[in-house]
Symmetry: C2
Subunit: 362 residues, 2 copies
């Protein structure tokens, strides 16, 4: 295993949760160490750590932190509930919290085994994240032609996960397969995760890329300069509707208009069978200051009204395929994403799911 | 005439061209005085003054400045040529230069009458700009329902013109007609003319508005919160293709997808019969630093490759109507925008152009 040029987004270190501080990128690569669930929750709310898969691991490590620092099961449960509610849209945060909490409870919450079990579950989630991303990366890379010009949005790279990345995992796998992809990086206002994080990752990885404002994407498509759009997901409903960073939906509409395939890359844990369709997903509203000030400088008149939703929902009908660690799901998504086909996906192809030969499944 | 809450964008003052310094808004309202054509050209290149109609007046006042400060017709012609080439996409800059230069030459360039004629022509262009905007505003306002929620992009307001505005002129006229419009202001990366200028203008005018990142617009449309898109234009080809601020084209595609009318508001001088179609329009590429730094702060990794076109072209097929001072042009635009129908537009309706009753024509 060669050294990854991008450090792990989240790690357990000497009883603390260590995060890459994504608020400081691309200017500085530094870390924040959370010694309490409150500190971790603040890191999540202020976007020191973000990205659906990373939040899943953060939720689980947060429960491990609670179990090792708090004295009663009741206090642990209460801290877990607050952590779970820190950001509402990504399903992974609640999922990670719930998994670690279940392990904690199964081991006997009053005992030292409870904390150890929660931590072991968090480590398992973190390890599974990286291997799932490598698997989905291989599935997705098979969809891209040589020299593919891939448009992505926000950051669905290593920094959005524990490592490797989902949408950028597909790009990385294509690069590793010698396909020489080129990435159009949409800057992704308001928080500029594309400009700040995705461009930084691709630079570290030595993958060709060009940064564009979010206003440029349709022109690129019209000029025939985009072969595929690949984005991540914060939650995928049972019918295939996809919640992801604000601006994703319009990319999907623009891709459809220009006959460009629109791929969503996400680990299977992002599929939420309990969410029947996108309309049921709570869209987080973020502070106006994310729009009115940039790096501390005001760019809009004081007191201006702002609408700042953090996510949007792309209807399943606009999604060409959903690339997961278990294979590539296609329409009709209610079938390809249902738990019944899920059980068979790792082993054999189905009409709804294309399995890449010789690629590691989930 | 009541006092306009927005000062004139461009004025002739004591032998100098005085501009609102749009680089400083919304933080400060201040002015830059240009005593030479070189200073005016710098102001244009650095976007102290921008917007197609304003550039038309700037071009004409620039020739007046050249005629009053330079000693030979040859030097005036050379300064005019440099000014004309300062920005390539908007047709109005070249048009304003050419009109003032023709007046200068007709009056006898060696005489004091030459400079006076150029200045008189510039004043005429400036006055005609405001009256054209009021006329097109009235035509456009008639297209909007009461309480219309209008999405606009960039700044096509008073600051983009000598006064009143084109797209925002339509909104102002609707407000003056008691229609209570609400404006969604797209911030318009990279230069943020929406956030910095349009929000500032609407605040001064007391017109309801909400600022959004450029990534939010399709979600607003999908939620049924946009009744019309109204934008300006930098150049309109003879076939109705529209060059305007980068991001306009994708708004038009998104509007079509969501069945929202897409209106372009521009004075007739923006129609360029010499440009047969959009593909013939030169699209200005602007510096990477507009994308990688915001208000002096770096927001992307050093050395990242950037594609930063300032404009895009919206095909005529996506344009519901073109609102001009001479009336509302509709498809087929080659007919409604042709010089033959132009001559009759001010006086009577034609099948291609709807004339609003009781509204001042061009």
């Amino acid at each position: 295993v060669t050294t990854d040029p991008i450090p792990p987004t989240i790690e357990w270190r000497r009883g603390r949760v260590r995060l890459v501080d994504q608020r400081r990128l691309p200017g500085r690569l530094c870390f924040v160490e959370c010694a309490s669930v409150g500190e971790l929750r603040d890191a999540i709310v202020t976007l020191a750590v973000r990205g659906a898969p990373a939040l899943g691991a953060a939720g689980a490590f947060g429960v491990a932190l609670a179990a090792s620092t708090l004295s009663t099961p009741r206090a642990v449960a209460s801290a877990a509930a607050r952590l779970r509610a820190a950001r509402p849209t990504a399903v992974n945060l609640a999922w990670g919290v719930d998994r670690a909490l279940a392990a904690y409870r199964a081991a006997g919450p009053e005992s030292a085994e409870g904390a150890a079990a929660a931590l072991a579950e968090a480590h398992a989630i973190a390890a599974a994240d990286v291997s799932a991303n490598r698997a989905l990366g291989a599935h997705g890379a098979a969809l891209l032609p040589d020299g593919a010009r891939v448009l992505t949005h926000c950051n669905a790279g290593a920094l959005a996960c524990v490592g490797y990345g989902t949408a950028l995992g597909v790009v990385r796998a294509a690069a590793e397969a010698g396909k020489h992809p080129h990435v159009w990086v949409g800057e992704t206002r308001p928080v500029l995760q594309g400009a700040r994080l995705t461009a930084w990752e691709l630079g570290r990885l030595g993958i060709a890329h060009t940064l564009v404002a979010d206003t440029v994407v349709a022109s690129l498509m019209a000029d025939g300069e985009v072969d595929a759009v690949v984005v991540g997901a914060d939650r995928i409903a049972a019918n295939g509707d996809v919640a992801n960073k604000i601006g994703t939906y319009q990319l999907a509409v623009l891709a459809r208009h220009h006959k460009v395939p629109f791929y969503v890359a996400a680990p299977w844990s992002t599929v939420d069978p309990a969410t029947p369709r996108g309309a049921a997903i709570v869209i987080e509203a973020r502070p106006a200051s994310e729009v009115t000030t940039i790096a501390g400088t005001r760019v809009a008149p004081a007191g201006v009204a702002v609408r700042n939703p953090a996510f949007d929902v792309t209807p399943a009908g606009l999604v060409t395929a959903i690339v997961t660690d278990r294979g590539v799901a296609r329409r009709p998504y209610p079938r390809s994403l249902s738990s019944r086909s899920l059980s068979g996906l790792g082993r054999k192809s189905t009409p709804q799911v294309e399995k890449r030969p010789n690629a590691g499944g989930g």
